[in-house]
């Protein structure tokens, strides 16, 4: 145990330098995914048929192919048609585009779980569809989507490790470097697993707090409690 602590003391700073890359990648991908998901969900729920079909195609492609294939497509494939991205940008874009497909589906589920009467009542009072979406549907769906969105956020945080495959020195890559440096792979990957756990745990706790702070009776139910 003391050896492990000593190992941690020596190598933790080197590993922690990867946290910035990992979290930066994650944050950019989540924001990109969120913005794109809003467009996708609008297309899926409210837009005309051709736009709906395009959005559906997008979602099926990104959910139906491995993330690693998507990343290689963007980083190694696109240069052939003149689009060259550095590894960080390529990874952020790949993870963001992939996440958009999932986030859109979670948003769609939340919107469609709302009773139709909410939109009808808003429109019956003279609100435009935009007003009804902004003031009624989004605030309600936004609250309902937090648990699934939280899950997605954690999945994507772990997915940032695929950036290792295109040579980005994020957390996982650093752990491997430590392993080859010391030949203590077990310790290196234990350390990096702990770092990932702290990161995902923090994200989960923050989003759980957000869920509790924005909770409204009758709209979202308290954990483990039937309403």
């Amino acid at each position: 145990m003391t050896e492990f602590i000593e190992f941690g003391r020596t190598w933790m700073p080197f590993l922690l330098e990867g946290v910035g890359v990992t979290m930066g990648l994650w944050a950019i991908a989540m924001v990109l995914g969120f913005c794109l998901a809003l467009v996708l969900v609008w297309s899926r729920v409210y837009a005309a048929k051709p736009i709906y079909l395009l959005a559906t195609l997008y979602i099926e492609v990104f959910r139906g192919t491995p993330m690693l294939v998507q990343l290689f497509f963007i980083y190694l494939g696109l240069p052939e048609i003149g689009i060259v991205l550095d590894p960080f940008t390529a990874a952020a874009v790949a993870i963001g585009l992939n996440s958009a497909a999932y986030q859109a589906e979670y948003f769609r589920g939340a919107i469609q779980s709302l009773p139709a009467g909410q939109m009808v009542a808003a429109r019956a009072m003279g609100m435009s569809r935009f007003q009804a979406l902004r003031d009624i549907i989004l605030p309600q769906a936004g609250r309902r989507v937090i648990p699934q969105w939280s899950n997605e956020a954690i999945v994507e945080l772990k997915y940032t490790s695929i950036a290792y495959a295109i040579g980005l020195t994020e957390l996982t890559a650093r752990a491997e470097q430590v392993g080859y440096e010391t030949f203590q792979f077990l310790e290196a990957f234990t350390l990096v697993a702990i770092i990932y756990l702290v990161l995902t745990g923090t994200v989960a706790q923050l989003l759980d707090l957000l869920e509790r702070k924005t909770r409204i009776p009758g709209l979202t139910s308290a954990r483990g409690k039937m309403e």
């Binding site: 009773p115 009467g117 909410q118 009808v120 009542a121 808003a122 429109r123 019956a124 009072m125 003279g126 609100m127 435009s128 007003q131 003031d135 009624i136 605030p139 309600q140 609250r143 409204i216 009776p217 009758g218 709209l219 309403e227």
Partner: protein
Amino acid sequence: MSDTPILSVCDVRKTYGGVEVLKGVSFDLARGESKIVIGPSGTGKSTLLRCINLLSPPDGGIVTLDGVRIEEKNINQIRAQIGFVFQEFNLFTHLRVLDNVRLAQRNVLGRSRQEATRRAQKELERVGLADKFDAYPAELSGGQKQRASIARALAMDPKLILFDEPTSALDPELTGEVVQVMKDLANAGMTMLVVSHEMSFAKAAADEVIFMEGGVIVEQGPPDRMFSHPEQARTSQFLQMITHDHQYA
């Protein structure tokens, strides 16, 4: 007092999936008048209400509000002038009662926050919910929810209010408080079109009873005549059936 009816419904038709639900319905509603629409379920009563404010646009016919034809192009303006009270209340789940009554005053009518608040408080007090401003809809009883939704409609200063079976989702002991609010409104001169089988409202507050069946108006007239001497055999049959049910309810 103008002679133009506040609401004029002329030959309204609506077909759903090949079934003609409304087969040409016409009637007028004068300012301050309240009419109640009764009839067997599946007769198109609720559809009629939804055709008036284009929640489900009619396939034919003309509806005018205060002489203005109700069309898709002016629909948001028109809807702001027509209150709609739903069977299922449809209060906005994420908003406290006060905000439910304030929201459309703000974003549709463009009232100031202060004015919207004052009106919301006034209307909520009027329906007996002065102590529920800060409650969420889920924290209210069914009767309180429906009264809040009536306050929400009133705060918009509507030219008329449409009631779509306002007491049907309520436990029997809660219908009374909602019916009382509706009677008070009718007596205060609110123009109302009510789809309901609430006989106590029909007898005490309706100026006219419209009996619908099979997508048409079978008979209409003042409540005392409709209840004592209906002209159509079908009307008296139906009235007997529902009053019978009520005795044993």
